[in-house]
Symmetry: C2
Subunit: 294 residues, 2 copies
Amino acid sequence: MTSQPRLAFIGLGIMGAPMAGHLLRAGYPLTIHSRTKSKAADLLTAGATWSDTPAAATSAADVVFICVTDTPDVEAVLFADHGVVHSARPGLIVVDHSTISPTATKRFAADLAKRGATLLDAPVSGGDVGARNATLAIMVGGDRPAFDRVLPLLQYLGKTITHCGPAGSGQLTKLVNQILVSVTTSPSAKRSRSPPPVASTPTGAIQAVAGGAAGSWQLSNLGPKMIAGDRKPGFMIDLQLKDLRLVQEAAADLGLHLPAVELVASLFKNAQATGHGREGTQALFDEVRRVSTR
Amino acid sequence: MTSQPRLAFIGLGIMGAPMAGHLLRAGYPLTIHSRTKSKAADLLTAGATWSDTPAAATSAADVVFICVTDTPDVEAVLFADHGVVHSARPGLIVVDHSTISPTATKRFAADLAKRGATLLDAPVSGGDVGARNATLAIMVGGDRPAFDRVLPLLQYLGKTITHCGPAGSGQLTKLVNQILVSVTTSPSAKRSRSPPPVASTPTGAIQAVAGGAAGSWQLSNLGPKMIAGDRKPGFMIDLQLKDLRLVQEAAADLGLHLPAVELVASLFKNAQATGHGREGTQALFDEVRRVSTR
């Protein structure tokens, strides 16, 4: 890679916009594109260049970053009319930060490889706070030399950056992450339904167990929100269910039966069905309380 | 309490023996009793005094510590012939470090109170390593002034010492702890069944997710053992099931339905039924792998 690669960033949502901002402030020439141009305003003011299509953004860049929502969104950015593939050329590296299907990712990587371009799947964990503070965990699958070349760029975005294996393995690792996140939310939720003797000092009870073998990020971060009745989304139930669907699809591809995932997905679906989809995952509290007291 | 209270310790198993040793080395006069006298040898060499019965140990002590296995064991130590109650007197404090039924604990506390003695339920978390290193988490229920009086003694045994509320609330908090511990083991186990792309760097995959929202004590400590095939018990499946039975009994008392606990208990029971009861909880890996690949 040249010492000053030209970058493009496609998808300027709650995650993509701050990530693109870090790359721009690091001094790289940056072309941006998003379905909604208004989301680009701050970045354009700060010196980024607008492109009307993914293909146009790609033609101006050595490395293209993508951060959209789901598998069909990535497929459209890459392969629709005016998609990245139409400007793909040997040496181009595409870094996909979206959380999508590992199976589809392998197919996308193979299709881009026909044009000499390399796709790295690089889903992130850490939420909007992690994106703003550049403390994301980034789980990367794909060609190792390409990973080594973009690693200095990823270090502007995250703190824990891991090459997990060939194409698709970043997405698989992210799905493992989402299994752990979602299943850990479920027992945390039960805590809040404890009977009066402990509930009289619920925060103390969390402190009592959080330092030991029961400790988890979910307990320490979401437990206090459950107790306080704070349902503001760090991570929305709708998106958790999207990721659990990806987990279940991947499990089906592999012939796996994951009973805890199925249980937790059913609890989250009930929470969504009762109107909590756009609340944070800690609102599972309400659903667990509902099914717990029959 | 006098500046130098006389102590007794009943139950010198894998947890009790090192805990009693900390109190002895701290300079307190210590009387000990255990069903198996051979377990007392090291403590007797170090200066402890043997008693043939819990009642005799109690008559020589201002504070009596108990660390046995299950509800009937504590009931026998307290109320059987030659039990603690027969030497109980006003001002005596009994600290029960066993993990047992919260409901039975409340009954035991009321029965001791009739003799003017105070029972504190003080179950611990942190395993044999925590007992040896005096880094246990101790969750205490019962009379607050009694808690304040024994706190300086508990600080020789543990690091995180929390007064959770009235009698039984230490046991309830410990059961919350065991829910979180056991349910977090289940998704961790699934990790090890990941397909080849990630499994080629399983330790890296754990590192990739452990620092973020999926992180937990169980993942960081048991995940590597699952990958290495190390089934040596930190905490035995047999004992985990004993604690899950206590959780389910407490839930039944409260009219609660805890679906994740039921799922995890059924997985652990299958692991026990297939001969893994005396292995560490990380051996749940095998059971999850078995049910996952149908």
